[in-house]
Subunit: 490 residues, 2 copies
Amino acid sequence: MQEQAYILPQNTSNWRHTEGFLKAIIEILLKYIKDENDRSEKVLDFHHPSDMQTLIDLTIPDDPFDLQHLIEDCKRVLRLGVRTGHPRFFNQISCGLDLVSMAGEWLTATHFRFTYEIAPVYILMEKEVISRMVSIIGWEHGDAIFAPGGAISNLYAMNAARHYRFPRIKPLGQSDQPTLCVFTSEDSHYSIKSAAAVMGIGADNCFNIQTDQAGRMIPEALEEKIIQCKQEGLMPFFVCATAGTTVYGAWDPLHSIADICQRHKLWFHVDAAWGGGLLLSPEHRHRLSGIERAKSVTWNPHKLMGALLQCSACFIKQDGLLFQTNQMSADYLFQQDKPYDVSYDTGDKAMQCGRHNDIFKLWLMWRSKGMEGYRTQVNRLMDLAAYFTAQLKATEGFELVIDPPEFLNICFWYIPPSLRTLNPVEKKARLEKIAPKIKAKMMERGTTMVGYQPDKQLPNFFRMIISNQAITNEDLDFLIKEIIEISKDL
Amino acid sequence: MQEQAYILPQNTSNWRHTEGFLKAIIEILLKYIKDENDRSEKVLDFHHPSDMQTLIDLTIPDDPFDLQHLIEDCKRVLRLGVRTGHPRFFNQISCGLDLVSMAGEWLTATHFRFTYEIAPVYILMEKEVISRMVSIIGWEHGDAIFAPGGAISNLYAMNAARHYRFPRIKPLGQSDQPTLCVFTSEDSHYSIKSAAAVMGIGADNCFNIQTDQAGRMIPEALEEKIIQCKQEGLMPFFVCATAGTTVYGAWDPLHSIADICQRHKLWFHVDAAWGGGLLLSPEHRHRLSGIERAKSVTWNPHKLMGALLQCSACFIKQDGLLFQTNQMSADYLFQQDKPYDVSYDTGDKAMQCGRHNDIFKLWLMWRSKGMEGYRTQVNRLMDLAAYFTAQLKATEGFELVIDPPEFLNICFWYIPPSLRTLNPVEKKARLEKIAPKIKAKMMERGTTMVGYQPDKQLPNFFRMIISNQAITNEDLDFLIKEIIEISKDL
């Protein structure tokens, strides 16, 4: 047996020492995971930036720190961080910590890929999972690329749509072309506007279509705007419908929007970054009826499906289009004279070059649940949302912004007793400041976290997100009690 | 103490069971790392796609698999994968496996970030590391964003450059604007052309400037092309110089290019994705002299610095420009009425929304080495490259494509005995097929891996990359012997 040659950390001379370090890190992580799930532990220990800087030394040293020092660093960072996997952290759409997905991420920390040559198993795994997701969307065939987040997936989709309709823009640019425009609801994710800006279409040529009371795009308003744009000499080509909006969890009416796209020959994209996971529930997937008519779909398994961030995919129905849109003939990377079927190499389909391995953690997690497990998981979350909604309605002082909520976002105000008797104008003005005040106290107490925002003419309200598998009815009761308790003096 | 609520995998009812699963995964990983560094183990066990599909079941099941099944899955995937951290894997620029960086990735598998609110420590850590890297570049101040890979970093830079010069394109699009154009060397990374395509500038308006014998951009050719473009009514605005090209590891003459940019008032970007790490060596950083004059820099710590993929940053000298370029006023995410200094929130600087945590593994790794450790590491790799070059020159049949190589890429041909006496035309024709044949045999044997490609009029040659810390002189000798051995029958 020949000599072994680990890349040992500085100041370490053997494998045993290094192995001991890695095992110590794992012990710290396992303890962290245990504590994170302990409801008697806080969600966070809040410190202002200036205080935080005194609690941890972040400098890059001239000389190496030893492994014991690094272990202490890790402990300190975890202690000062926010426990985003805590069952009472309701602040973001990506919550919770699926442990199988985490194990998958540990394993692939060491791997990367873009050709079959250096990542054979992951390329095949990606094909398998993509083909399953394509059929869940309701397509007979289709292609996809895993991208670093929903914003980049939406960019892939808009770029493919432009290339499909105006293939000369890829080589020649947008300058001598008609002014393109795109449509999305005023409640959609800002990445659609951002994609239009980056792509040289222009943020102002991304039109935000009005939504109804429940946050759903109004199809008549869409068609009116399309016609108006054409009359003004603009060239509409892309419509994004959102399946599960960021704030209200609203479902745009996909069939009506698909009909309009068909009539006006526009690309129909569905941003199901958040809502896509509902496709896994036969009981609830009717909310996304019509998604099968899309030409492209964004679906982030790192949201409802609980995969670790990042895990997002952009699906394109037309085979070959991703490749035609993105390939730049990088022969030095993607040679054609290899000893295997090079159609398995996916590098030229991507805007990126080297890509982080996002497939394994998803695949392993899906195997740990099966289709049935996901069905149960998604249905349970929907039940929790219904429970929370009922509790809010039954508790004095709480008011729903959208009633009933249609997904796992529950938006609500809490009106402290002192405000309840005020006239509407004064009440609204005071209400604007209530959620920020409650949130600030919540962060000081560190017991729970939930986000808030204003919207159009509405004063600041809370947006509750139920996506963490660890949530129970009691956690939801706790949040309600905590808000009432915090607001006593307001 | 209250009830605990882990997100347990399906078919698991308690923490002990789950903890056992995680520990089993760690045991598998530790064994894998050990084996990967054992030179008597193969780099890969090659199977064609059709065979591979019979060796592993990749389907998504209806019912959950139990944890034992998942453990077997993990073992099988690792066994069938390519050991990209093996000291004899020379195939890619990102090689090797820094174990501290890996520990960092394990730890942050559970975390994500974009606001101070939910990721306070990581935001401060990012500020600290960015400010250090900014000063290493040679700037007095500057801003940066960590992006998913060098291609996206280059896109950020080109977009910032366009916004700086033509701020109206962000809202209004490119259509009524002059036809923009950008410049990069013919040896630069294809992501520059890709960015021009995505941004609506047009791939053909990305001009590839001729390089000299060593792969360096010819400044006179650049200036000539700029003048020609202006005469033809195009609007030049962006020049990319490459510090460490992908194939030859060439260094574009930064000062001369900076002078030209100054004369013509163009944005000077340096793509140091690969070469940036050399800035850490006082002995070698003169290769990048002039980088301090850049307005933007791409630098990927996941390449020469050895951080796990992905870890790439785009640096922008002008404070506030990243924010102005990318912000879309997503008030629902980035509220201004928070109880802390919201200038610490970085979300609105990014095109992406949620971002993978790429900072912690870099920070931890850097602390494990210190500035001195990196200096030693980088210098050692440069010494290994010099050793390998000398060995090639001393061994019959080997010819350098670029002599001397200027970085850690060593491009060479091996001319088997049967070809050595042929006339030049026939020799070149036969040589084209030699590297692919050697590579195919190499993959069958599984002992080592090195990439090859053609370039312009040159027949296929090998591109050796020395970036794995575990490489020794003996590994380099082994590659030479192995190529000679494989080629006996050619």
